[in-house]
Amino acid sequence: MPATDLSRSAALVEADRLMTICNACRYCEGLCAVFPAMEMRRTFADSDLNYLANLCHQCGACYSDCQYSPPHEFNVNVPAALATLRNDSYAKYAWPRAFAPAFARNGLFIALTAAAGVAAFIVGFVAWRDPAVLFARHAGDFYKMMPHNAMVALFGAVFIYAIAALALSLRAYWRDINGEVDLRAAGEATVDAARLTYLGGGGGGCTSENEMPSAQRRVFHHFTFYGFLLCFAATSVATIYHYAFGWRAPYALTSLPVLLGIAGGLGLLIGPAGLFVLAQQRYAVLTDAPRRGMDTAFLAMLFLVSLTGFALMILRDSGAMGILLALHLGVVLALFLSLPYGKFVHGLYRYLALVKYAREKRTAAFVD
C-alpha cells in the first residue's frame, strides 16, 4: 500500500489505497468501466484517481460484491471513496478558483442563490414599473413585466458566463487527466452517457446493502436528463420562432415549444422526485454523506424550475402571473448561475472520463 504523502488529500490517499487493493483482486472488472481502467495502470497518480473517480457512477455493486468491504480489515468501500474524491475534484477544477468553496456547502449556496434570484426579479419588476404591475392581469404576456430584450440580455449574459466557467473547469480537468479524443471515442462515450451503461453494476442495477439490485435510479435519471434536454429544446425552438420567424410568445398549448416544455417539465418533476426518494433510501455508507446536500440542492432546483414553469403556464392569465414569473425566472437564473458550481457538473466530468476510457480501452494495453 502507498506510503503516506502529506501533499495529498485524505481522499486521494484513500482512493490510492483502495485501487492498489482492487488491482491485486480484480473480481469487479465486469461491473463497470472503473475497474478495467484501473487495470491499465500499476500505480495511481492524482490525475489517474481524479479520472477514475469521475468514471464511477456510484451504483454500489462493487461494495456488496466485495470480499473486503467493512467489517473486513481492508475496509474497502470504493463507492464512498470515489464519491468523496469526485466531489473534491469538482472544487479542484472549478473556475474561478474563488468559487470552489461553493461545493463544500452546496445546499446553502444554491438556496441563497435561488432566494437572491427570486428577490431580484420581484424588486426589479416593481422598480421597473410600479408595485401594481406585479399583481395585474397581462393575458399571459410576460414581456409586460420585463421587456424581451432585457430578458434576453440578462439570461444570455448569465448563460454565456455559465458556459465559459464550465468550459474552463473542464479544460483544466481534461488537461490534468491527459485526455485525448477521437470521433469514435466521443461517439462511444455519448452512447454510454445516453444509456447510462455503467449505472447498472454489470447488469443487476444499483445495489444497496442487502437490497435487490434495481433499475429505478437509471429510470429516474433518464426522466431527469431527458426532461432537461426537452426543456432546453423548448427554449431553443422558442428562440428560433422569435428571431427567425418573428413569432412572439405566449405560444399556444399545442405549439412545439409548449409541447416540448410540458414533456420536459414532466420529466423534471418525476425524475428529481424519484431520485430524491431513492437517495433517502440509499445506504448512507455508499455515499459522500457530508456533501449529499449537493445532490439534494440540484434535484430541488430542477424540480422548482419545472414546478414554477407549470404554475406559470396554468395561471398565466391570472393576477398571479407577475409573482409567478418572478419566481420562475429567479429560479431559472439561479440554476444557470449555479450550473458550474453544483451537481450539474457531474455529467460533464463523467462524459469526459467516458471519452478518455473509450479511447484508452482501444489504445492502451492491459497490465497483466
Binding site: Y27, G30, E39, A61, S64, Q67, Y68, E73
Partner: protein
C-alpha cells in the same frame, strides 16, 4: 418474522456457501421446508465461496461468456492429471456430466456471469466467471433461497448433531446467545473443511502451523466434519493434506483472499531465511507454479521465503497488494529483509554466473536456464543484475483441506461400516476429497459444490417425503 425452532424442517442444511445454497434452493423448489445454518456472521457467510471467482464446467461451446467447447473427456483428463488418479471415477464422471447443467441453473437462480477480461488467468474455455466474483454469486443465491421461503440464519454455528446409527434427528445451534434444537427429517452437511482450525492443522504440521496464513475466514473450523467423523461417517481424503499456495507474508492471518497472491516467483529467484535457493523456480507454468510454493515454503525454516526480482521483471506480473521491498543493491536489499548480506550476494552471484543465454518468453517453457547449479532454474532464468532490486516475502497460504466424508452417487454419506446413511447427505468442500483426492484444478471446488449441492438437495427432498 421470528425464527421457528418448534417445527421439524424437511431439510436442515449445515453451512452457508455455494453447496449449501444449491442444496437449499433445490429442496425448496421441490416444496420442502428448509433451514440454512451458517456459522459465520452475515458478512463472512459462505466460507470459501466468498473468495472464489469461477466454476469449471463441461460445455459444447454455446455458453455466451465462454470460449469453447470443453468436452467431458478433456475435463476428465484434466482431473486425472492433477489428482494423479486419486479420484472416485464414477463420482468424477458424475461431476463432469452434471457440470453441464450449472450455467443455466445458476442463471435461473439469478447468478450472472461475465467473460474473463484482464488478469493472467487464461480460463475462458474451461471456467465460467461470476459477475462480481464469489460474493456477488453468493448474494444472488441467498436472494433466491429467501424468495423461495428458505430460512437462512447466519451467526448460527452448529455445536452438536443428534445422530443415531447414521440417522440424523436434530442439530444444536448457538443463535443469538442461546442454544436451540433444530429438528429435521434430513441433513445436508455443507460446512466446508478445517483450514482455519490452527489446532487441527498442528496435529499434522506442528508448530509450523503458527506461521501459516489462512486465505479464507476464521470460521472454516471443520466442526461439522469432526462431528460427522465422530458419529461414524467414513472419512475420505488424506487428513494431513491441504491446498496451499505462496502468498504475501504481510497478508492478514485470516481472510486475505485472492488479493494477497504473488505471481513474481518465476521471474527471479526464491531464497529462504539463510538466503539460499531451495527449489527450481522455472519448473512449471501456471497454475502449477502457483500451487507448489506454499508447500515448499512450509518446509523452510520459519516458514518464510523471499522472491527476488530485478527491474527487468517488476512489471511483468500482476500488481501486488503490498509494495515490493526495494533497494539499489543486493546487499542493501538483504539488509531490508534482515537476511545475511554476504550470503544473498553470493547466492545471486552464483545464480547469475550460471544463467545461459536464451530467448526469454514467460508465456511458454522458454530456453532461458541455468547450468551447473545444484538447484537449477530450468526456464525463465535471467540474470538479476538491473537495479533497483525488489523482494516480496512469502508464507504458505492455506486454501482448503482434503479430509472429508465419503459419499455415494446420491451424495448420501457412507458410514464407516459400509452402510449408507438413512437421511444424511454431504456437499461441497466437506466431501470434495471424493473427487479431488489431491492437487487442484481452477474452479473445481465450485463445480463439486454446485453439482453435489443440487444432488444432495434432490436426495434430501425425496428422502424427507418418505
Amino acid at each position: 418474522m421470528p425464527v421457528r425452532f418448534d417445527n421439524i424442517y424437511d431439510v436442515v442444511v449445515a453451512g452457508g456457501g455455494n453447496a449449501a445454497l444449491c442444496a437449499a434452493i433445490t429442496a425448496a423448489r421441490a416444496g420442502r421446508s428448509v433451514i440454512v445454518l451458517e456459522g459465520a456472521p452475515a458478512f463472512y457467510r459462505g466460507g470459501n465461496t466468498r473468495h472464489t471467482r469461477n466454476l469449471r464446467c463441461a460445455h459444447d461451446g454455446i455458453a455466451p461468456t465462454m470460449t469453447g467447447p470443453y468436452d467431458g473427456g478433456e475435463f476428465l483428463d484434466d482431473l486425472y492429471r492433477v489428482t494423479g488418479g486419486e479420484t472416485d471415477k464414477a463420482l468424477a464422471q458424475l461431476t463432469i456430466e452434471r457440470s453441464r447443467e450449472l450455467i443455466p441453473w445458476m442463471n435461473k437462480a439469478g447468478v450472472k456471469f461475465q467473460p474473463p477480461l484482464g488478469g493472467t488467468l487464461s480460463l475462458g474455455k474451461t471456467n465460467a466467471f461470476f459477475l462480481g466474483g464469489g460474493r456477488g454469486m453468493l448474494n444472488a443465491l441467498y436472494r433466491q433461497a429467501e424468495a423461495l421461503g428458505v430460512v437462512c440464519l447466519s451467526d448460527a454455528p452448529v455445536t452438536a448433531l443428534s445422530i443415531e446409527d447414521g440417522f440424523f434427528t436434530a442439530a444444536t445451534i448457538q443463535y443469538e446467545g442461546l442454544p436451540h434444537q433444530v429438528r429435521g427429517r434430513t441433513l445436508v452437511a455443507a460446512a466446508g473443511g478445517f483450514e482455519a482450525n490452527i489446532d487441527w492443522l498442528k496435529q499434522h504440521w506442528g508448530a509450523a502451523a503458527d506461521n501459516f496464513l489462512i486465505r479464507g475466514t476464521p470460521y472454516n473450523r471443520g466442526d461439522v466434519l469432526k462431528m460427522l467423523l465422530a458419529h461414524g461417517v467414513k472419512p475420505v481424503g488424506d487428513p494431513t493434506q491441504m491446498h496451499c499456495v505462496g502468498i504475501d507474508a504481510r497478508a492478514p492471518r485470516f481472510d486475505g483472499g485472492i488479493a494477497t497472491r504473488l505471481d513474481s516467483v518465476v521471474f527471479g529467484i526464491m531464497v529462504n531465511r539463510a538466503a539460499q535457493r531451495f527449489y527450481d523456480e522455472g519448473e512449471e507454468t501456471w497454475p502449477k507454479r502457483y500451487a507448489i510454493w506454499g508447500r515448499l515454503i512450509a518446509q523452510q525454516p520459519e516458514q518464510i521465503g523471499y522472491s527476488i526480482v530485478d527491474s527487468k521483471s517488476i512489471h511483468m506480473f500482476m500488481p501486488s497488494i503490498f509494495p515490493a521491498v526495494q533497494a539499489g543493491a543486493i546487499g542493501e536489499l538483504a539488509g531490508k529483509l534482515q537476511l545475511d548480506a554476504a550470503a544473498l550476494e553470493k547466492t545471486v552471484a552464483d545464480f547469475n554466473a550460471a544463467v545461459r543465454p536464451g530467448t526469454f518468453d514467460h508465456t511458454v517453457l522458454d530456453d532461458c536456464r541455468t547450468e551447473g547449479l545444484a538447484i537449477p532454474k530450468s526456464h525463465w532464468a535471467r540474470k538479476i543484475d538491473t537495479p533497483p532490486y525488489y523482494a516480496y516475502p512469502l508464507r504458505p497460504g492455506i486454501t482448503f483441506t482434503y479430509l472429508g466424508v465419503r459419499v455415494n452417487d446420491e451424495s448420501r454419506m457412507v458410514l464407516a461400516n459400509g452402510k449408507t446413511s438413512g437421511n444424511m447427505f454431504a456437499a461441497g468442500e466437506i466431501m470434495a476429497g471424493n473427487v479431488l483426492g489431491k492437487g487442484y484444478l481452477a474452479g473445481i471446488g465450485m463445480t463439486i459444490g454446485a453439482v453435489f449441492g443440487r444432488i444432495a438437495g434432490e436426495g434430501a427432498a425425496k428422502n424427507a417425503r418418505n
